[in-house]
Symmetry: C2
Subunit: 385 residues, 2 copies
């Protein structure tokens, strides 16, 4: 009888994270005794309202913003759609620039604006997964009203020079940045970045699913994506998901406290991992780039990424082939293609993303399992050939 092993070690934290116990503790009162609609006049409602305002201050503090600049949404995807659609809807149609390595929840709303008279174009990146600032400058010669470049890439972990982007763009256009993968992994200072809007999300930092935010520069004029009861100053309607928002606030506060430790701990794990990967002749993408400390993206020639992910899953390790979103589609990573990686090698890509709970022992065990899996898959390939 074949024994079905399931993954025990989770190395896929850029995809989603487990709730931190302290975050769940903060949420539990809202899930048990303290219900109430924050818009209600009675005490249940007032208490719900106060809980949300406290979370707003916690989230703002984590990114160097003011509480009044935080608009809560249900997710990073919603915040990105809100930013692109909501900002563009209030402007005269012109060029809208994103980068070739954005998450589809930025590029697709940008492309959707094409139906409303906008011209959506993408700025190139170099082989190191860094935005090509020369290409940005060239494209800015065309009248441009909105630019969106992510702060850190979900697949390679590459960190973009957003300050250079905002400096180049100047007053020509609004600038939005998707900081979902950066939050909790590197320090973020909203004002220093010089952007007009920034997306963050809860479930990537040990907070619950169901909460995200768009951080807004006060000078920006934005149309709501969700119309209705007028919550969030009329910018995002819908009864607030109080438990999720409170959890997001708690997770932001914890992430700020643990930021230095997170970076140090996960960077050490990654160094150990990448030493081992090099010995196994892996191609490591964006290795020389300024990257998120916890992320390693690599491939083995002639070994399909999804096949390897499945093999590793059976050996007890949960990793990703590209992002979780694109892994369902089965297409090679658009990020690697943008970096000029050949489609075959891009299709071989595997992503490991650590958090603070992962250990050096797990990394060593993973390298051992990887070696096993590679041997087996290469034997199978050899037999088939």
């Amino acid at each position: 009888m074949r024994r079905l092993l399931v993954a025990k070690v989770y190395f896929d934290h850029n995809s989603t994270t487990a709730l931190k116990p302290k975050v769940l503790d903060a949420m539990m009162p809202l899930l048990t005794s303290q219900h109430g609609n924050p818009a209600s006049q009675h005490c249940f409602g007032r208490r719900a309202h106060e809980a949300i305002e406290q979370a707003r201050r916690q989230v703002a503090a984590a990114v160097g913003a003011q509480a009044s600049q935080i608009i809560f949404t249900a997710s990073g995807t919603e915040a990105n759609n809100f930013a692109i659609t909501g900002i563009a809807s209030n402007l005269a149609p012109a060029q809208i620039l994103t980068s070739r390595i954005e998450h589809p929840c930025v590029t697709k709303p940008a492309m959707a604006m094409a139906r409303r008279g906008w011209q959506a174009n993408q700025v190139a990146v170099n082989a190191k997964c860094e935005l090509d600032l020369q290409d940005l400058q060239t494209k800015l010669a065309t009248p441009t009203h909105l630019v969106s470049v992510m702060l850190a890439n979900n697949e390679t972990g590459s960190i973009q020079e957003i300050k250079a982007v905002t400096a180049l763009v100047g007053k020509q256009a609004y600038v939005h940045t998707d900081a979902v993968q950066a939050l909790g992994k590197i320090a973020i200072d909203f004002n220093a970045l010089g952007v007009h809007a920034m997306t963050i999300s809860s479930h990537k930092i040990g907070g619950p699913l169901g909460a995200g935010a768009l951080v807004l520069n006060k000078r920006i004029d934005i149309q709501p994506l969700l119309h209705g009861g007028g919550q969030e100053k009329g910018l995002r309607s819908g009864t607030e998901n109080i438990a999720a928002i409170v959890g997001f606030g708690a997770a932001c506060e914890l992430a700020t406290q643990e930021l230095a430790d997170f970076a140090q701990h996960t960077a050490a794990l990654r160094t150990a991992l990448e030493v081992g990967l090099s010995q196994l002749n892996a191609v490591i993408f964006a290795q020389q780039t300024v990257r998120l400390p916890n992320t390693s993206f690599f491939a083995f020639e002639n070994i399909n990424g999804e096949t390897l992910v499945t093999a590793l899953d059976q050996l007890g390790f949960a990793v990703a082939s590209g992002s979780a979103c694109s892994s369902a589609s089965g297409e090679p990573s658009h990020v690697l293609l943008a970096m000029g990686v050949e489609a075959d090698l891009a299709g071989a890509a595997i992503r490991v993303s650590f958090n603070r709970d992962n250990t050096l022992e797990q990394v060593h065990a993973f390298l051992h399992a990887l070696k096993q899996a590679l041997q087996k898959l290469r034997q199978m390939t050899a037999v088939a050939a």
Copy 2:
């Protein structure tokens, strides 16, 4: 020293409900050990995917639909915005009809489509809060491509004859219904209603905030409101809020089991309440209308609704003045104004909405408190006059 009393008895279930303990039990594994992105290929992801598909079947069963017809969203507000914007975006602009008693998360997206060439109009209701079918027929003489009429009103509880609406509209337009307040309070059969799309929400039926759904007839062509990773068949992107969706499924299953009991129990409470209200000379709105069993909407002449809500809150009872959404704005209920109620009397309105946990003792205590509050407020008015 003044003693601050807080509301202990919750009579505001049309606004939001506490999580049912069984629902929280179903959610807890997802909030503790079972995290995972449903799009991920590894076992964490597959398990998350399976949990969502089970919830989809539970939600579908509660409204007589097929699982494949359920598109999960983060809220009823999102589902209503998605329905109106998403359906209209794929059609040639024409008239879009809503009713005068819709929730703003239906009327506002309809009005927003006016900027994209649509003509948004509202069908009248009569003094009993019933849709004026004659007015609908008259307005349908203008080319109309989308009609949205709610199944049950959140304020009066009036239940609309959606089958008559779909029969009148015929093949001229798509019909959407907002069934957020109907779910769990009356039986819903999606196919029998003959609508093309229907909105439901979790947190009104003892489920968590963070989950709603649009039920879609398979023939309908709809554009996503949230673009991105392509979740929910490409119709609603964003990592699924697994815990909330699982809770929504569990709440739907419970609501179906408890439906008859809910109706019988809350109707008995309401009868007792309204006997008492009549003795206090309340005006009870839509009392002779086919209504949700748990809802009573009433007013006392010359007594401001918000003042009375605050007085009742201090006496230990949480009730609403109009809907939670409009109560924050301080404007008189648009529903009562649509019924032809004078603005002064509309501004006096109070809503009580029960659930199964409320008791006859609470109703009697409430009537007692109400009598006290009225006497005190009338004395204050007399002194001031």
